[in-house]
Symmetry: C2
Subunit: 531 residues, 2 copies
């Protein structure tokens, strides 16, 4: 490879390292990268209209592809706009090569209007950060970023790229280091201790996370352990990716609502953690303990989050399932779909429609929030599919992640199950759905409220003087004045859309969406779960 | 005042300190603030659907009100979403009390899903940051935040509020410290040196910024100096607020395009800075110097940015305008409007329509970017108005700032002149326009391109191999596939909208918008400035 500019070295290093999709929202400092795109046809540049769409798409892409996409962001404010979905990617352990252009090195000290402390912002959300000083650094730094992003564990690796490192000559592509970080595996003692607990006959909970919920063999191993020992098997509350559906062991998730999680863990004498962190509540509350481990319960951490959880479950099953137990089969979810319901549209009937129609091999991006309550049960027997959840709690991940998932899996239908309030954070992702012709069906649950906040208000309510639900407080959770019209919004960005007010209309609309190529949006008008 | 919760102390301290508008996008950690709203009717809580709308609105509010609004953001990701417009507020010197809820102190160490390094993110964009440790701290910390925000100079003051400091008892409101920071004024030597330069007969440029462009007396003083001495008077490229129109001295601005700025400053032997920073290019370029001060030009910094620039200009005029010069009058812009043009809609005819119809007392929020090129000339003789610009270069400020300006000035019409690409970053601000019934007329220049990036590509082009304008590169600046339909987008958020394809249609649409209460959007279909 001949010497080239930093931008060219960046592009060649990325594509040679397997990073062939770049979600971009570029500006002047990234101009040379953009200008070099025509010389590197292996790189697919995907334009987004907002950086949060770029980073959310990179998250969805990385979760499904198993290798990173790149982003291309513009200085500190661009990184700021992308921060929330990088936060989710960080929590998911998604590999992301996060490229942030910065001012030229000679320009940076001048404190020009767009100058900011981009290093501090990057540090807050990245597992790895490096700033290329010269064009010659760009190739090796990019290679190191790819290696860091891939891990294991996967992480957000941020490369800060001064404009002159990008436009300057004397760069060359570099190869990604061959020896990646070693994934943390279970040690023999931890496995033995967990196996002993599981075999001991006391009430056990087996909580799995990390790479396990996406791995059918790991789910089978975990479910066999549960079947043989009576342990309660749960996946972490928000798995990055979970394989589900007919023929796959049906594994429930630890509840988001503290009372539900407390109920699920009640009476446990042993909590075995495989790739999951010790459970805590999502928020701290005045009258609820944050630590969900029941009193007197021993915690057995077999593999930390980010470690080789799937492999550890298989090893754990070998230890636990000896003697007659070795023949225990994992129960698999039987193929079963709800009948498409008729009549009024509610979160329950909407869930049944989804369960009835979810296509074979679908990727489900779930940001349905409170409207999604019936979805797991309704889809457990649907054809095999993958389910992505909001790992970091930073809302606005659904529509962008759906774009990324569709680009990672062009032969699979993507269903984005999306709450209305959170949809608005990154609504311009719909334009990218249309521009790239993605097979994404978005179902927006339009309940005209931040219903989750009404629920949270109840959760904190005991500590309030009065009920806290006065008219002016409630107004801050109300999205109904004026009503958001998602059909207009989608059409305004080139996505065909229709509105469903009954279960039958929802089924018809989803069938139509599935029968046509490209993206669609269906607005399902549902009553809020919490009135 | 009786003891109360931290949230109550926060609210009472804010309203007692003159902060009576809060742009909120709350979550669970801010629930107690929200719940307390009903007890404090003096606080107007304004819901936004995205944090970048809240922070941009606070910027627009602060620029027009002269005192801060508060924000209410949710943890690190919420602050991240609000970062870009806080960056603009920081560059504008806008007073903002930026309240960011955080996890309860006992919950924070548990690294729950939404945990992040919010302190680092806050530090990157705030002039002042404090974290309240206990409920008792909240009152005094809030008072200190208000004082810090107000300055002078105005700044972003971020208060990090753990949920338990908010819900806990034992708090009490506090009074804002009476003695604010002292504004930096010009010292006598600097004034004398500048006056000598101005009187010396060599070519001088007087560059003004900070609080001067918004102050008619300062503009009069500056313009009299220029008239008497032959100095070239310019305002900084992106003033936070500038008073303009018939009867006000017409002051041009230093160009954004480097060649234009170089032309404006060419031959200057003295550059007198009053509230403006020494000029640098917006970006660094391979073949253009970043420092715009011509060689051999002496720089006289009379007052730094953020200092008392308006007062310094009046003092400087007194020093310069002695003898016969004391009678020099400042030329004022005469009342003059372009004829409303007919025929095709272009950036030039659109500017003429704006100049013909801009109402008396308007607040103009200008994020027209390349489509705004003809606006200053076309509006110079329009009725008196204020003009707000994109101070920090972080796009997506226009629609939110318009909301804030309208809330700060309920009796003045707000015109938001908005480019299409940048509109999409914070498009949900339109919903807040509708919800609050704001008198905002938004004119979206729909040129279906990031035209500024096409221009910037030309600017860096000399350093590219080839012209860099290949098809795949250009695709990343193209917004036309699919075309954004802003009429649909606006209607989807409850804002009446129409599309104008001719100059006549634009004039009719703007007249209709002005004749009806509440917000309106007009999409003006214009060819891009750079094809």
């Amino acid at each position: 490879m001949t010497a080239s500019t930093g931008a060219e070295a960046l592009l060649h290093t990325l594509v040679d390292g397997g990073v062939t999709t770049c979600f971009a929202n570029p500006g002047t400092s990234e101009m040379h990268f953009v200008a070099a795109l025509d010389a590197v046809p292996r790189m697919r540049g995907v334009l987004t209209l907002f950086e949060g769409v770029a980073t959310g798409a990179a998250d969805g892409y990385g979760r499904m592809a198993g290798h990173p996409a790149a982003t291309l962001l513009h200085l500190g404010p661009g990184l700021g706009n992308g921060l929330a979905n990088l936060h989710n990617a960080r929590r998911a352990g998604t590999p992301v090569v996060n490229v942030v252009g910065d001012h030229a090195t000679f320009h940076k000290p001048l404190d020009a209007p767009l100058e900011s402390d981009v290093d501090a912002i990057a540090g807050a959300v990245s597992g790895w950060v490096r700033r290329s000083a010269t064009p010659a650094d760009v190739g090796p730094d990019t290679a190191a970023a790819i290696a860091a992003a891939c891990g294991p564990p996967g992480q957000v690796a941020t490369l800060l790229l001064p404009a002159d490192a990008s436009w300057g000559a004397g760069a060359a592509p570099a190869a990604v280091p061959a020896a990646p970080a070693t994934q943390v595996t279970a040690d023999a003692d931890a496995l033995e201790s967990a196996a002993k607990a599981l075999r001991g006959g006391e009430r056990c909970v087996l909580l799995i996370g990390g790479d396990a919920p996406a791995d059918e063999a790991a789910l089978v191993a975990a479910d066999r352990i549960a079947a043989a020992t009576g342990a309660v098997l749960l996946a972490e509350t928000f798995p990055a990716r979970m394989v589900r559906g007919a023929g796959v062991p049906a594994v429930g998730r630890l509840g988001y609502v503290p009372d539900m999680a407390i109920h699920q863990l009640r009476g446990a004498r042993h909590l075995v953690l495989v790739g999951a962190r010790s459970p805590v509540t999502f928020f701290g509350y005045p009258a609820t303990p944050s630590d969900l481990v029941p009193e007197g319960c021993a915690v057995h951490a077999v593999v930390p989050k980010g470690g080789a959880a799937a492999a550890a479950l298989v090893a754990l099953a070998d230890l636990v399932l000896t003697g007659p137990a070795a023949r225990v089969e994992a129960p698999r979810a039987r193929a079963h779909r709800p009948e498409p319901p008729t009549g009024p549209l509610t979160v329950e009937t909407a869930a049944a429609v989804v369960g009835a129609l979810l296509p074979e091999g679908a990727v489900v991006v779930d940001e349905a929030v409170t409207s999604g309550i019936g979805l797991p049960a309704a889809t457990a027997g649907a054809p095999r599919h993958d389910w992505l959840t909001l790992t970091g709690g930073a809302i606005g991940y659904g529509l962008p992640a759906a774009a990324g998932a569709a680009l990672a899996c062009p032969d699979r239908p993507v269903w984005c199950l999306q709450a209305d309030g959170s949809a608005m954070y990154t609504i311009s992702a719909l334009w990218t759905h249309a521009r790239e012709g993605l097979d994404v069906t978005t179902l927006v649950y339009s309940n005209a409220a931040y219903a989750i906040l009404r629920m949270e208000l109840l959760q904190v309510g005991a500590s309030l003087q009065g009920d806290g639900g006065g008219q002016r407080a409630r107004a801050l959770f109300d999205l109904g004045t004026p009503t958001l019209d998602f059909v207009s919004l989608a059409r305004g960005m080139g996505v065909p859309a229709e509105r469903a007010r009954t279960a039958d209309e929802l089924a018809s609309a989803l069938r139509r969406a599935g029968s046509e190529p490209g993206p669609h949006l269906v607005e399902a008008v549902v009553p809020p779960l919490v009135p």
